[in-house]
Symmetry: C2
Subunit: 146 residues, 2 copies
């Protein structure tokens, strides 16, 4: 088994997906990283930056940047917590109003991206990747024991 090929395929798929998302979001002045934050906030409600970055499996610094851009665009608010170290992030009314439009566009593109790939194959693929990710996660867990 050529692992290079496997890894390359994963990488290329990831870039293709992001590229397509960016294409569709462009006309709303959004980018894929911003969208993923908006999406999570809509599903989960207000979260701290820490929770957001854990949820999206991204380090804190990129999360700070993405949020600051969303703040500047007026789509998100930072609310200081009782613990003054943390900041809760929540959608503004503007974002909640615009959300359905964004979502529709993204969902359409998602369907387009997955077109020609059967539900059963999607399920298999998701299953395999989940398994792989969890094995990677458990490896990391071991290393952090030190």
């Amino acid at each position: 088994m050529e692992l290079h090929v496997l890894f390359h395929s994963v990488h290329q798929l990831s870039r293709q997906i992001m590229k397509r998302n960016n294409t569709v979001l462009q006309k709303y002045g959004l980018y894929s990283a911003q969208w993923s934050v908006l999406y999570v906030l809509m599903q989960q409600g207000r979260l701290t930056q820490k929770e957001l970055s854990e949820y999206l499996a991204v380090e804190a610094p990129p999360m700070t940047r993405t949020i600051q851009r969303l703040v500047k665009q007026g789509y998100v608010r930072q609310v200081p917590g009782e613990d003054k170290r943390m900041k809760f992030i929540e959608l503004t009314e503007l974002a909640q109003k615009e959300y359905p439009v964004w979502e529709k566009a993204v969902l359409e593109m998602n369907e387009q991206t997955i077109k020609g790939f059967s539900k059963e194959h999607q399920r298999q693929l998701q299953q395999l990747m989940a398994e792989w990710l969890s094995s990677l996660e458990s490896q990391q867990g071991e290393e952090e024991k030190k």
Copy 2:
């Protein structure tokens, strides 16, 4: 089927793989994008930048940057072609000498990354991704007809 989840998994896997590759390459002063160029050159011999970027499915500008860094490190040479627009890229003797060491380190990390994921599952995953990628490719082909 939650496409968000599927796409997120692909993205996360891609980042994990690159992160691990960078970790192992760090001690040789290399990064994953550089490695992928060195790897292709070792397999294929001298290639033009155009061929390299097509092979790795990367746009020309990032390829220029990666190559310029490799040139600076003395691992790669740019040889002007007969057609003066193109530049052939080839490994230097230094790179050829060091290559086995790099390869060993990368292969070990690859095995570690895939550990706990059976050969059969690897094969299935590769199969599914190849199918998906080719369907995406054919979509792009259609759009370029315009």
